[in-house]
């Protein structure tokens, strides 16, 4: 009598493999030298997922910069804020989106400038406990409701 052990196959999992260029006789196609992944917004637009946060624009204080009420802002906290960047700051217990103006730093203050003449710049003195919360890297607007 022989012992036969029946082993169940495990076919539930699939291993993903890149498609290799097809094997042909003759000259290889130059296009086969490059394999391209599909465009992926998560990968291509969000460079630092760990430091990326989202915010929704409320109001028209940045209208002349093309940022409108309801737009979604992609905010990256890993970026060192520079003069002229559009940033998110926390002022008077709310988040605000404005241009960062460092041109008066030598005079002891910086400004958060709106892009709308109906709003005034927010002046922040050296001594104020202020930190740029993050730098805006993209804004997204939906056109097809």
């Amino acid at each position: 009598m022989s012992n036969i052990q029946i082993i169940d196959g495990e076919f539930g999992k699939r291993l993903k493999l890149h498609l290799a260029p097809s094997i042909k006789a003759g000259f290889p196609s130059p296009a086969d030298d490059y394999l391209h992944d599909s465009i992926d917004f998560n990968r291509d637009l969000i460079k630092n997922p760990e430091s990326t946060f989202y915010g929704r624009v409320d109001g028209d204080s940045m209208a002349d910069a093309g940022i409108l009420d309801g737009d979604i802002a992609v905010i990256d906290r890993s970026i060192e804020p520079a003069d002229g960047d559009i940033v998110v700051g926390y002022v008077n217990e709310e988040f605000t989106i404005k241009y960062l103006d460092l041109s008066h730093k030598a005079d002891g203050y910086i400004e958060l400038r709106p892009a709308n003449t109906r709003y005034k710049p927010i002046k922040i003195d050296d001594g104020d406990d202020f930190e740029v919360w993050g730098v805006v890297v993209w804004t997204i607007r939906n056109w097809h409701k």
Binding site: P49, E50, Y54, R56, R77, S78, F95, I97, D129
Partner: protein
């Protein structure tokens, strides 16, 4: 070289990411159901608030205006700490997360760089990118690394990173470190060590090896002693998976009848089973505890717990719930008003291969239940938690308002913050 990276006042720091106005101000986070304080800021500690204080006491002692109060928001805490762990993973060869706010890292092969300033930079990076302050301890073994992280947290001069890299520093640290804070020494052993005159880590480390073996005969304690003396011997498996998983809550009000208790306990058991499956482990023991309100001295008091060993280790919702409700039935006594219950699963091991018990006649059901759990997990993940529940999970007492209403009322969280990293509806508003 090892490192331990520990989020400072983790839950409070998470709340402050989206509320920078609360920096440098007293903040407390309450347990599930807003029962008592589970986390607090240094400022709240200085006011005299302590962990574990019931919320009503905090309220009567300090008033609601002097400190900011939050219900725990694990959705937010889990997401933000996940980001912290992800940053750390990019920086080190081996990263091992062993609780929501702590991880061990192995720095093998990084000894050629200045690790102290590497640690200071890592703190700055995590602070900048996620908004979370961390403390970093670096040392030749895990026990000393844990000790170093404590010093990094306590003394500002370390700039969030303390490294024990010489015998002189090790001995100095041991002398300053109370025995009951040493990692791996539980409350019971600390008391015993104090009886033997070991009040600091140094006192314990200075004892001869033979004395330790003779007095304790416990491998964990012996390893701790060796590590305090500079050896590297605590295996990774010792931190591997959590040794037990506990889900417990105070009830919203008091509960007398078995049916309602069974519903609560079923829900806690389901949560334990989900956690087991999420970390691909199985448990062999299910324990349930039950207690009346110990603050109400005017009422009759009863406290009990009951343990059941499973025929085969399992992470199946059905099996864990069955065991938990059985344990509850065995210790339930009528005539008391109960305030709190909990389910603890223990004897946790890796998911496969599971040792099937020879006498477990239901072995064949195992595969079916595994598939059922996988389907339920998937549905609840896609459609929101508790879309599909067991019959025993449903709160029927209030009746008539459907599942959603009764579930929403089951847990109190009056001060819960939004979840800006996991829900589009909660993302921050930019003026």
């Amino acid at each position: 070289m090892y490192g331990i990276i520990d989020c400072d006042n983790c839950y409070v720091s998470c709340e402050r990411v989206f509320r920078p106005d609360l920096n440098n101000r007293p903040v407390v986070v309450l347990s599930n159901n807003d029962g008592c304080v589970v986390a607090l800021s240094n400022e709240a500690k200085q006011m005299g608030v302590r962990e574990g204080t019931p919320y009503f006491e905090v309220l009567s002692q300090f008033g609601s205006r002097s400190l900011s109060v939050f219900s725990s928001n694990y959705e937010l805490y889990g997401e933000l700490t996940g980001r912290v762990m992800s940053i750390i993973r990019h920086e080190v060869p081996v990263c091992f997360r062993y609780s929501i706010d702590e991880c061990f890292v192995s720095l093998d092969g990084m000894e050629h760089i200045d690790l102290k300033s590497w640690g200071e930079n890592l703190h700055r990076k995590i602070r900048r990118c996620v908004g979370m302050p961390v403390s970093i301890g670096l040392a030749p073994n895990k026990t000393l690394a844990k000790m170093a992280s404590h010093f990094a947290k306590k003394y500002k001069g370390y700039r969030h990173c303390c490294m024990i890299d010489s015998d002189a520093k090790r001995l100095q640290a041991l002398k300053l470190y109370p025995i009951d804070k040493v990692w791996g020494i539980g409350r019971r052993y600390a008391a015993k060590l104090k009886l033997h005159g070991c009040n600091t880590a140094y006192d314990f480390a200075a004892r001869p090896a033979g004395w330790v073996r003779h007095t304790f005969g416990n491998i964990v304690i012996q390893r701790t002693w060796q590590e305090l003396n500079g050896e590297d011997c605590v295996p990774d498996e010792q931190l591997a998976k959590k040794k037990s998983i506990c889900t417990s809550r105070s009830f919203n009000g008091m509960v007398a009848d078995l049916e309602t208790l069974r519903t609560h306990v079923s829900n806690y058991a389901v949560r334990c089973a989900e956690k087991l499956r999420a970390q691909q482990t199985v448990a062999s023991v299910v324990s349930v505890f039950l207690t009346t309100n110990t603050f109400r001295e005017d009422l009759p008091q009863y406290w009990n717990s009951c343990e059941l060993r499973l025929m085969s280790p399992s992470n199946s919702t059905t099996i864990i719930v069955q065991a938990a409700t059985e344990a509850l039935r065995m210790m339930y006594r009528p005539g008391y008003l109960y305030k709190k219950a909990g389910v603890i699963v223990m004897g946790i091991t890796a998911d496969s291969p599971i040792q099937q018990n020879l006498f477990d006649v239901n072995a064949g059901r195992f595969d079916k239940m595994k598939r059922l759990d996988a389907v339920i997990d998937r549905i609840n993940k896609v459609n929101g938690s508790e879309t599909v529940v067991l019959g025993s999970q449903q709160y029927t007492r209030d009746g008539g308002r459907g599942k959603a209403g009764t579930f929403a009322d089951a847990i109190r969280h009056n001060f819960r913050s939004p979840s800006p990293t996991t829900r589009w509806s909660d993302i921050i508003s930019l003026k």
